[in-house]
């Protein structure tokens, strides 16, 4: 009896320890890849067409899902916002509510979540398959550094694309909110825009939103790249890596959003 309890506890602790060591190892490997990506980034800018090509695949190809989602998010925000604001007689503030929600939070956060699901998974699967089919090894054997040639251009493409996508998300969201608030509900056109103009601050709202989306761009793209680069070279390995990209990116974005928001409100 005592032996059985002792064995169970020992096994539990050893499993816990192994998992912790594995997580720490992966964190270290991820940090190392991030560092090497920065070190070997020169080529991404010297041969900017490599980065631009990836901006097309990660950014432009994500436009549809971003724009459609933004439109609906904006419309729902206007509906919910009007429903609450009219109770306090301030339905003209609907424009401010929609704009601030989008620029400060929903624009960067939802864009990052969609980016992780659309572009992040594509990046992980592509790199993972390149590894499984020995394309990265082939590059190494040709004396071409895969981090400089494959990883770094994708990283910078993600960092460039994310703020642009977030800005588009916010713009389209505001347009969706406008269409619901003004033509559909009947809020005054002038009040909608003038309140927005008066109450959305460039430094506190827009710039902070851009900073958030830049941070999310770094985090989401790096997670996607690392998961692909570290994936076991099998179909199952790539599939698990793709799933991990979405899960880890989403949780990281939400956690980082809280941290960044805390700092931005304090400073």
């Amino acid at each position: 009896m005592f032996n059985s309890i002792f064995t169970t506890i020992t096994r539990f602790l050893s499993n816990l320890g192994r998992r912790m060591i594995e997580r720490m190892w992966r964190l270290g490997a991820g940090a190392r890849l991030f560092f090497l990506t920065l070190v070997y980034s020169g080529e991404s800018f010297r041969r900017f067409h490599l980065t631009l090509r990836e901006v097309y695949f990660t950014g432009v190809m994500s436009l549809l899902i971003i724009i459609v989602s933004a439109f609906f998010v904006g419309m729902v925000l206007a509906l919910q916002g009007y429903n609450t604001l009219q109770k306090y007689g301030s339905s003209e503030a609907i424009g401010v509510l929609v704009a601030l929600s989008l620029v400060r939070e929903l624009g960067p956060v939802v864009t990052a979540l969609l980016f992780a699901g659309r572009a992040g998974t594509a990046i992980t699967a592509e790199i993972g398959l390149m590894k499984a089919t020995e394309q990265l090894s082939a590059m190494e054997m040709m004396a071409v550094n895969p981090i400089a040639r494959v990883i770094a251009p994708r990283f910078w493409a993600g960092v460039i694309a994310m703020p642009i996508l977030a800005a588009l998300f916010s713009m389209v969201g505001v347009l969706g909110g406008y269409l619901v608030a003004v033509p559909l509900i009947g809020v005054d056109d002038g009040a909608f825009w003038s309140q927005m103009q008066a109450n959305v601050d460039f430094r506190d709202d827009v710039v902070n939103g851009v900073i958030k989306s830049l941070a999310f761009g770094v985090v989401c793209t790096m997670i996607a790249l690392f998961e692909g680069f570290d994936a076991p070279p099998t179909a199952e390995g790539v599939s698990h890596a793709t799933t991990r990209t979405v899960v880890i990116s989403s949780l990281s974005v939400l956690g980082l959003d809280f941290v960044l928001t805390s700092f931005m409100l304090v400073v």
Binding site: L129, M130, T133, E134, Q135, S137, A138, E140, M141, M142, A143, V144, N145, R149
Partner: protein, 268 residues
Amino acid sequence: MTSNIVEIDNLSFGYKGRLLHKNINMVFPRGKVVAIMGGSGSGKTTLLRLIGGQINPVSGQVRVGGKVVHEQNRDGIYELRRKMGMLFQHGALFTDLSVFDNVAFPMRELTDLPESMIRDLVLMKLNAVGLRGAHTLMPTELSGGMARRVALARAVALDPNIIMYDEPFAGLDPISMGVICDLIRSLNDALGATSIIVSHDVHETFLIADYVYFVANGEVAAEGTPHDLMQSTLPFVHQFVHGEKDGPVPFHYPAGSYQAELLKQSAP
């Protein structure tokens, strides 16, 4: 200058304390086609990776052009690799690039040649492997044999001194196999290069190799010219060359008593 372009001295290599290679010695003379043969899992491909500096030995040395590979820093290894070409088992073509761009890849990455010259060189390499007419195709549009030939054109794009082939005949139909076989020999002679072939296809390898090493149980089990090895009475070589199902390499994976296992009541 030594006549051997690649030398392996007392090389041992393993993972997690288990040695895959034990004190292996091999030499690869300039201008020759040398084959490394052995069963699946005998560490043949690992030897190519050791020569290419992708992994480091536990002890011993691999020297390429007189330089110890694992003592080189990253730039030194890349310098050595510029003189090597490697054909991977499944080609490892870049799937997002066309046949033309795949062959042009090492030229664009490692040289400052003008695009017009790269175009001519790529077409020459593709013509040598008989696929000039396929230069606009994507890798997904190629058969296994064609992909292997494009990969071969890419491997020799910069006229390397050493060309390494990892299972070049695996999974090919007899016609493609014959074509690849012929190309390996003719490209080696035309470029004055040294070819290292890793394979377990006896017939094709013996047709083109000048010298053959047999690897088994982590050691060089036999070596010699294809003719010598065909006549060999060594049990392992005899079993391998003649494709006998049982011999020093057992048919059965090590297991306990067959009878006892069948009579056992519980599930395994």
